[in-house]
């Protein structure tokens, strides 16, 4: 039997598996307080995913707000969208704007390297697309355990071919990234993916549902039981005595579908018929409906029976939580629905009207003719818990810093020095990375002015004027372990230098904050220090933070990874013909050393 709102009123004391869904007792109590009754199974599903660390940023929100002091001015003009939107948007001059963002897919890539990395690329590309932009490039900062560790052998080939398989198939040039091997990532590789897109100022799209009577359309892949481990618990509680059908714990990406989704969405944009749009990230329909509805000026009504399913045995809770890839949600005026569906048909993209914008400010969801969700969407999307977790300067950090490299024995002879040099240049971190980067298409779209092995990736934006952008990502986790404040600033300044060295003016950053468990005060301290380092550094450099991603709980057997705040720097260059490639260009040129 479906757990309806009516049923929730009638059975206030029914047991619910909130703890299994990752909610704390006080969070569950808070949900009841918000609703004035116990949640239905569907509501519980929605709150539990949306209030998870991953979606709600409950441990980091408080600290990320510090980025706010940086304002929205870049050296080239104001941000057109900043933190809080799906991705930041930077005015780069002329009529052009660029949107870029970095995101992590660490845990899924550990479980299933190929699909984890592939869907990581897919997810960030949809974020960029949803801003109204054409995605034009990707980058992939990667961190692995030691090159010869068995687990590295297991995860590395899959991760690299996942990124290559998905990114190449989308036709997005891979213009840079990192590969770093360090024992700290054994058993917890980091897969960060950055996507950059381009748009005209007027094309900017925001994720909100406005306009009474406007239709809510889901399009892209059908909904399957992907990534809904948690919701299966609910299904078993409320439905089937035999327990739910097996649900996959991993998502499988379909890059061809995503390519169609991109072209189809761009054509929809061009037709001028999209009033609001959102990609499906984690938390699927729960996320898309509650975020669209709470950002808009009305309420929303959704009929779950209209959602096209790949697996007909899905329960309503599971439909709401499914993380099936390659899906989008758009809000469209009723008179434009036919045009919308026509464009989707042209691209062979499934599309269905699943709901509409209604009066008031509630989000209603029906299933089999009964109401299963009746919530204020803001409470789902934005009023999640905010934690001020304890933080403390680690007791070990002074000892670690006292153990200085300068105390190590020095090479005593030329031969020893030569030996050291060989070891250094032969180490996996210094060695040529083309065994990885050659698996990525860096030429597609024909605008890659710089890619590997250059300091930064550079893309031409405007073929007439030569206006272009440069991007670099950087982080050294060992520096960050020694001093997370300075380590973050080092990452920031390295990416700044890499962009500047290629001839572009650095303008703004995105960041991916990969850390251990936020429940460990040492980690929380590292996290806060890194943010403060970035804030102070960015203020000095005049480069605001446009958005980013936090990945906590990166640990193996209870041991946290070294703090790894990866910084992605965006630069602008007026004419890409003026780029400065690395390497010596002409015999006889003078070689200068700048700085101390």
């Amino acid at each position: 039997m479906v757990d309806t709102v009516e049923n929730a009123w009638a059975t206030p004391d029914a047991e619910q598996p909130w703890a299994e869904l990752g909610l704390k007792a006080d969070e569950y109590a808070r949900i009841k307080e918000i609703l004035g009754r116990r949640p239905t199974g569907c509501e519980l599903a929605m709150y539990s995913v949306m209030w998870s660390e991953h979606c709600s940023y409950k441990s980091s929100k408080k600290h990320l707000s510090r980025f706010g002091v940086l304002g929205d001015q870049t050296p080239r003009g104001p941000l057109l969208a900043g933190i809080g939107e799906q991705a930041g948007v930077v005015d780069i001059g002329g009529d052009w704007a660029v949107t870029f963002k970095i995101e992590s897919h660490n845990h899924p890539s550990y479980v299933e390297p190929y699909q984890g990395a592939a869907t990581g690329v897919g997810g960030i590309v949809r974020d960029i697309l949803a801003m109204g932009a054409r995605p034009i490039g990707v980058m992939d900062p990667l961190r692995f355990g030691p090159l010869d560790a068995p687990d590295t052998l297991r995860v590395l080939p899959g991760i690299v071919s996942g990124i290559s398989g998905y990114g190449n198939c989308l036709g997005l040039p891979n213009i840079g990234g990192e590969v770093l091997f360090d024992a700290t990532y054994a058993g917890n590789p980091l897969v960060n993916a950055l996507c950059v897109g381009v748009l005209k100022h007027d094309d900017l799209k925001l994720a909100k549902a406005t306009g009474l009577g406007n239709k809510v359309i889901m399009y892209g892949a059908a909904t399957g039981g992907d990534g809904i481990g948690g919701a299966s618990i609910l299904a078993s509680e409320t439905f089937d005595a035999d327990g739910p059908a097996k649900r996959p714990s991993v998502q499988v990406g379909d890059p061809f579908m995503e390519k169609l989704l991109i072209e189809c969405t761009l054509e929809l944009f061009a037709a001028g018929i999209i009033t609001g749009i959102q990609d499906f990230g984690a938390a699927g329909i729960s996320c898309a409906t509650s975020e669209l509805a709470s950002a808009g000026d009305g309420g929303m009504h959704v009929d779950l029976d209209t959602v096209v399913l790949r697996d007909p045995t899905l329960s309503p809770e599971e439909i709401l939580m499914s993380e099936s890839q390659e899906r989008m949600m758009a809000v469209v005026r009723p008179e434009d629905v036919d045009t919308f569906l026509g464009i989707c048909a042209k691209w062979d993209v499934l599309a269905t009207v699943v709901g509409e914008v209604i009066e008031g400010d509630r989000l209603f969801i029906d299933y089999h003719g009964e109401r299963v969700v009746d919530v204020d969407p803001r409470t789902v999307a934005h009023d999640g818990p905010v934690y001020d977790r304890p933080s403390a300067r680690p007791t070990w950090i002074d000892a670690l810093n006292a153990d200085r490299a300068e105390d190590l024995p020095r090479a005593a002879s030329g031969a020893e020095l030569a030996e050291e040099l060989l070891t250094l240049v032969g180490s996996p971190n210094q060695a040529d990375k083309s065994w990885i980067t050659d698996q990525y298409d860096r030429y597609v779209r024909g605008n890659s002015v710089l890619a590997q092995p250059e300091n930064s990736g550079m893309l031409r934006i405007d073929e007439e004027t030569g206006l272009g952008i440069a991007l670099a990502t950087d982080n050294n986790p060992r520096f960050c372990l020694l001093n997370p404040y300075l380590g973050a600033q080092l990452a920031l300044s390295e990416s700044y230098r890499n962009v500047a060295a290629s001839g572009a003016e650095p303008v703004a950053i995105t960041d991916c904050l990969n850390f251990g468990s936020p429940e460990d005060p040492d980690v929380m301290w590292q996290f806060i220090e890194s943010i403060m380092g970035l804030v102070d550094g960015c203020r000095e450099l005049g480069t605001p933070v446009t958005g980013g991603n936090v990945s906590f709980y990166n640990q193996t057997d209870g041991v946290n990874i070294h703090p790894t705040p990866v910084v992605g720097m965006l630069g602008v260059i007026d004419d890409v013909a003026d780029r400065a490639p690395m390497g010596f260009a002409y015999p006889g040129d003078a070689v200068l050393l700048l700085g101390e």
Partner: protein, 225 residues
């Protein structure tokens, strides 16, 4: 003006690049949609790179059956110049306009590199402006670019001057006889794995050798008139 059609299949990726290359060569690029039965009177056709239909079954296997291919096969058989680049080459083999097949690289990964090629035959529409034995540098990027054919076919291709390009230095994918590109008996249909359209601008490509393909087309078309 010479009009060159560039086909877009679902999953085509280098179609915009091919159109840009056509334009830079001073010709008119005509976008052709896979679902159309109309070649719009073009003077030549390029089947661009990409992953048509995701290339999930076999590269080019599904694209072969698109409506536009029916027209292209017929036109090619009566002499229309057709250039298949990478995925386009795969589509041409699947359509039996060119012999042989392309399978997974021997290294079993995608490979993207600046590749040196040797021009083996200038006896085609797309290479008549090149020199026999000329070395050109063209971007290569593929996962399934290993050219194979049975011994008899290979012997025939070699004997009848239908091998157009050979990999020089490195054989990046294990292709039989280092074959990078072949032509049909008539010389109007050429397929190759490397991407000439990425070698038309100094800013974005390792060489300008891709222009030679368009010079050849021009030379051929003007000689014909």
């Amino acid at each position: 003006m010479t009009r060159v059609g560039v086909v877009t299949f679902p999953g085509s990726l280098d179609d915009q690049d091919a159109r840009r290359a056509v334009t830079l060569a001073g010709m008119e690029a005509v976008p052709l949609w896979h679902a159309a039965h109309d070649l719009e009177g073009v003077d030549a056709v390029i089947l661009p790179g990409g992953f048509s239909y995701g290339d999930y079954l076999r590269c080019g296997a599904i694209a072969r059956f698109s409506p536009i291919m029916t027209e292209i096969v017929a036109a090619a058989n009566s002499g229309l110049p057709v250039l298949g680049i990478c995925n386009g080459f795969q589509v041409l083999c699947e359509s039996h306009l060119l012999p042989g097949a392309l399978i997974r690289n021997d290294r079993r990964t995608f490979v993207c590199r600046d590749q040196t090629l040797k021009v083996e035959s200038r006896d085609t529409v797309w290479t008549c402006a090149m020199e026999e034995g000329q070395e050109i540098e063209i971007v290569l990027k593929n996962g399934e670019g290993r050219y194979i054919a049975d011994d008899e076919t290979l012997a025939r291709l070699e004997g009848e001057n239908q091998v157009v390009f050979r990999y020089l230095g490195v054989n990046p994918n294990g292709s039989s006889n280092d074959i990078a590109g072949v032509t049909n008996a008539r010389g109007n249909v050429v397929g190759l794995m490397p991407h000439p359209e990425h070698n038309v601008e100094a800013l974005t490509g390792p060489s300008l050798d891709g222009r030679l393909f368009f010079d050849s087309l021009t030379q051929f078309l003007s000689a014909r008139v």
